[in-house]
């Protein structure tokens, strides 16, 4: 289990990185935290000709927190975002989800943006970005563009980044007033990819009735799946909400696959359980 050979690039500025990426074309791969990429290389399941190691591009090592939300630069490690009280205050879902990302040692090295770009449908952060309606900023030698979460995840392990593009930062919008968020997942072992997971955001109107309820699911579809469950909750105050109805709606609107850890039916069932649990918790937070 040794990685195949590749040509190594160690840019120190973003421009150098984009330049290297542009020249490598389809044969180039970006190395940030490496916690997903290097296992693939070690198993020789990937063999890029060029590896552009952005770990020296210090301008990407940023976590910016504004009232609007959290901006994570491409070198922001999971652990740094997880520990940031400022980020947690603006968007608590980040810390809640990050605690489920593998194990602490992996989070020391893995990056938030890397996890998004890897686009694993079983990963936590894509679901968080999706439910929050966040975005990813992509840069290339030709310029920059902002890709909304809904367009960013193209398929399993496939983002909509184009050839020569580097995901330079991600934006996680702040939790609005009178909103609450919750994250929950069920995994085989602590730290494993979830058999199913849910990230919920619930908003209340001026009368403390649920006016918005959105849940993003991981390990349920090929990309993070967001369901708007608002209608099924009938704009009631949280105490009288029929959460089971929302769970039922969710179960009816997903079509998960089975694998060696969980059958499709069990996944569907879990999605229902987690829908109920996260909605209830998010609503509680919103009050």
């Amino acid at each position: 289990m040794k990685p195949p050979p590749f040509t190594y690039h160690a840019p120190e500025t973003l421009d150098e990185a984009l330049d290297a990426l542009a020249r490598a074309g389809d044969d180039g791969k970006v190395l940030a935290g490496g916690q997903s990429l290097i296992p693939l290389l070690n198993m020789r399941l990937a063999a890029p000709g060029h590896l552009i190691d952005i770990n020296r591009v210090t301008e990407l090592d940023t976590v910016e927190v504004t009232p609007e939300g959290v901006w994570a630069g491409a070198l922001a490690r999971h652990a740094r975002v997880e520990r940031s009280d400022e980020a947690a205050a603006v968007q608590p879902l980040l810390r809640a989800a990050l605690r489920h990302v593998a194990h602490p040692v992996v989070r020391n090295r893995g990056t938030v943006v890397g996890s998004l770009a890897h686009a694993d449908p079983a990963a936590e952060l894509p679901a968080v970005l999706a439910v929050l309606g966040g975005s990813v900023e992509a840069a290339s030698s030709r310029g920059r563009r902002t890709v909304p979460a809904a367009e960013f995840f193209a398929g399993p392990l496939e983002s909509s980044l184009r050839r020569g593009e580097l995901a330079v930062r991600a934006f996680f919008p702040a939790l609005p007033e009178r909103s609450g968020a919750a994250f929950a997942e069920v995994s085989r072992r602590h730290g494993d990819y979830a058999m199913a997971g849910a990230a919920a955001v619930v908003a209340l109107d001026d009368d403390q009735r649920v006016c918005s309820a959105r849940v993003a699911y991981l390990s349920i579809a090929a990309t993070p799946l967001v369901l708007d469950l608002t209608a099924s909750l009938d704009r009631r105050p949280p105490v009288t909400c029929d959460w089971a109805a929302a769970a039922g709606y969710a179960r009816d609107h997903i079509d998960p696959d089975g694998d060696i850890h969980a059958t499709a039916a069990y996944r569907r069932h879990l999605a229902g359980v987690l829908t109920e649990r996260t909605l209830r918790a998010a609503a509680q937070e919103a009050l």
């Binding site: 289990m1 040794k2 990685p3 195949p4 050979p5 198993m43 020789r44 069920v186 085989r188 072992r189 602590h190 730290g191 494993d192 990819y193 058999m195 179960r251 060696i260 850890h261 969980a262 059958t263 039916a265 069990y266 569907r268 069932h269 879990l270 229902g272 359980v273």
Partner: protein, 816 residues
Amino acid sequence: MSTALFGEPIARREDPRLITGQGRYLDDLGGGALEAAFVRSPHAHARITDIDVGGALEIEGLVAIYTWEDLPGRVGEPLPLLIPHPALTHGRTAYPLARDVVRHVGEPVVMVVARDRYLAEDAAERIRVTYEPLPPVVGIEDAARAERLVHDDVPGNAGAHLVQEVGDAPGAIASAPHVLEFRLDIERSASMPLEGRGVYARWDADDESLRVYSSTQTSTSVRMAIAAKLGLPPVKVEVIAPDVGGGFGVKIVHPWPEEVLVPWAARLLDREIKWTEDRREHFVSAAHERAQVHFVRVGFDDEGRLLGLDVRIQHDHGAYTPYGIIVPIITSTQLLGPYKPGAYRVEFTSLYTNTVIVTPYRGAGRPQGVFCMERTMDRIADELGIDRTAVRAANFVQPGEFPYDQGLVFQDGRPLIYDSGDYPEMLRRTKELIGWDEFGDRRAEAERQGRRIGIGLACYVEGTGVGPYEGGHVEIDSGGRVHVSTGLTSQGQGHQTVFAQITASELGVPIEDVTVTTGDTRRFAYAVGTFASRAAVMSGNAIALACRKVREKALRIAGEALEADPRDLEIVDGVVRVKGDAGSSIPLRTVAVLSNPLRYAFDEETRRATQFAVGGSADTPPLTGEPGLEGEDYYSPVRSTFACGMHAAIVETDPDTAEVCILRYTVLHDCGRLINPRIVEGQIHGGVAQGVGGALYERMVYDEAGQLLNASFMDFLMPYATEVPAIETGHMETPSPLNPLGIKGAGEAGVIPVSAVIAAAIEDAEGIRVSRMPISPSELFHLRLEAESGAAELTNRARSHPAPLRRAAGEAGVRE
């Protein structure tokens, strides 16, 4: 005998080395050696039609590529069938490199040697092997149907078939007041040590000798196997097991293909070569265990006493049978546990499948056997509506009945006769430890909170310390240092500590003066190996016996020097002295000098042993017996000694997600006299953790094509700290009458009953029969659905139990 250190929980003597990074594991050796990698079959069953190595030749640093065609003489012959058995009528072993046909994914086909492993993998990746796929046989049912064959010349895919009988079980069952019949399944798991296998060989062309390091559980046998394969006299082959990063059974198999090929190539190329197995290789080319199906018929009376037990077993031994049929033999015999079965009939068929070979993994067939018997006990209790512990108590071998002959033949070819134990007392203490009699209240309280909990227990008897023998050598040098060696190997059991404790106690020397060497054929050439919870019993007793020889010799020589009767002497802190006369003494280091009459002096100490310095009679020869203050002895038991234990657990199952959480886990254990309680406890903890893995997490998942779907630590789920419960332990010490130290083995104990315990506790919590382990949340969820639809069976207790359990089972169905 001084018992100053025997029985003390002293800290381990190997730890300072291992804690500071100074351990020497296989891959830590041989810096600069060439490295090997293998092209392994991607098919479960296929004919090799072509091997094209052309693409690999341009890899810079490539040294050699070998296929089966390159292997001369015995090197190219099939690997040995290590443990032949009359019932193994169709034993088959693999070639070191596949010849014509591959029979499991991962079977080695081509060996590559290169400057380092990176380059060897580069070359291996470029070798094109063309296969003509053949239909694979996967799983026990597929194998038993025998519509396709793993080996053309093995009809029915059956490698072995064995029946053992005591009394007329079918007759006893037919006339029994109660009869139950059911099927029980255990799936595949594996030892999975964190260090994989590895071999490092260097050939000395001048000396025409070979030194091999192997991460093995048996260096002496690896040596004999390599010598035989390479046509070398054994004296020209040294095999050393360095620090070994865990074994748990898989490393007892030998010679692995790589253990033949690496030394062979090292000699051929006259270059040092090393092969360090990577994790992916370990999954598909080492060994697995556990997969068995059991069909049980049992007849019993109104008190739950067994009248007749008839068990049919189908064992999946994978593609080859290099280690024989030890696993199902152990299941067949150890299934009986602490019970008297009435009449007993057991029959197994050992089947070929196109999967990785099956050889003993810690427990070695016992977890399956205990699962069978303990699930049977629980079924009987449920059928009769009596307490589960009462059924067990009704069937125990009683303390006054030892030695107790079960009338069967054990894995060592010797009669299955239990030597000692006190099962009723152990059950009493187990119930006390887990709070068995108070559990009803606890359950009621939990139910009030909407929680679902259950309790289970399981008992086992484990034959430990199987023969044929082990030896020990003890030498006291003229510096007073005590060098102990034994041939068997260590994989973390703390042998350097416990054997030193035995030595210090037997000889009366400070433990600081004792060093212990294991698994090095240069130091001790005769041994069997480390498996079957045998090291402490076998080598411990052998070392004790060797110590006694050395002690006797020391006392004789000291007696001459002190002009005292040896019977009046004692050894305290490394000094021989006359009892009651502290002034009259001689240190062992001086005795060591005197034990070797010298002509030449090379230091002050030896000067005292030269011919003009030593007095004595002119009419007796200077040397009596052999020179040196050393001794060697062997321990060979007439039969195994039988340890026992009882585990109990309380689990909670999540009514919504079907997750299982172990709330409490207790172990009561009896392995005779404890040499070092701390080490025994550590063994138990580790065993239970592996048992929890086997019960709730670990399984090898093959698809129909024979591809292992979870050949990584991401998907083969060994428990982390977050998955293992706190383990509460208690000990009993019923000495074995069979060996001088009164000890029994402890290595495998922890793992044996865990699946049975957890299954019982989940069944108790859910009210649904659990007949297949491991069980995942997904499977428990489906069991609930099946129970709702009538496809899975509820326990009688659940059927008669009012609200909570039934309602919860129903909800699962409604939700879906």
